[in-house]
Assembly symmetry: C2
Amino acid sequence: MGRPPRRLLDRETIVRAGLDLVDAHGADALSVNRVAAELGVKGPSLYNYISGRDDLVDGIRELIVAEMELDLTVTPWTATLDAWARSYRAAFGAHPKAVPLLVARPIRSPGALRAYAVAFAGLREAGWPEHRVLPVVWAVECFLLGAALTAGPPVVAAAPDDPPPGVEALFDAGPKEFDAAFETGLAALIRGLAFELDGLLR
Amino acid sequence: MGRPPRRLLDRETIVRAGLDLVDAHGADALSVNRVAAELGVKGPSLYNYISGRDDLVDGIRELIVAEMELDLTVTPWTATLDAWARSYRAAFGAHPKAVPLLVARPIRSPGALRAYAVAFAGLREAGWPEHRVLPVVWAVECFLLGAALTAGPPVVAAAPDDPPPGVEALFDAGPKEFDAAFETGLAALIRGLAFELDGLLR
């Protein structure tokens, strides 16, 4: 019999274990020592691959962004933005508990910057003036972050004893209603932005 | 000399101390014992006023919603929705670290339900069909939650060594650019929704 197989560590394995922790137990659970415990190794052995908790968060962002489909060659720009938004929602909505963690940490990840570069390029090509590019992308991203954040939990508890009249729709609402809200918001945002661009280009 | 003045406890004082904790130290810091310590009392003495951490979160939501201006008599409905959204952003954007906490907990608060009731009523009066009322409000709320969540921290770290071309605008962006994104998104959402309603009522 040889020695027991040694767990092979690499950065991706470590970061993925961190994301699994966050998905299962929330952002508070993320620490280098806890990730090490999940991997069955001692904390210090991870520091050959990551520099600390912040670096774990950067790596988690990189993992999630890597799930986005960024080879966007659809036209017109409204279709590009729609595809970008759906891809963003799919990637981040799969990890709602990671969203607060990511928002609280400035972006350094090359993958995230590439995702911005794709969105910016699509808008520029459509004729959006330079000073409108960032506000437009951030506006859509605010919506997408909110949608990702609320992807998990129910919004409203079971009907209270004495609700104000007219809010009954809230008490039966679930994932189907969330999808409807997402479609409603994305369509309205893009339509409203298209209206602005039409005015600018006229 | 009499006895030292006894700290007067009531539910609002306790909940406000909880919100101060979250604002200063993040959602993880919120616990009954920590709030008690902030108030200079022992943990068990709080249980006459609150039932536990979840109840603190419910109270925090009630406090924040109480800061919203809900006496909305402006017309047309697009102006009502605009005012509701700005009021929501002002209230929740003042407490970005509380947002993940609130989103993770189903709503029970009467004040929050009243805020929905105001938004729903405005849309019904404008002619929105019943099945569109909830998706429209949630769509706007996704945007507002994202805007509140990102109200605090910088989005992008200082320019990395080798950024992809075309994303330079990110590296100088601050609160002014966030405001521009908020205005852009809110205007586009409302314009897009108005376009849909025009079609429905035609």
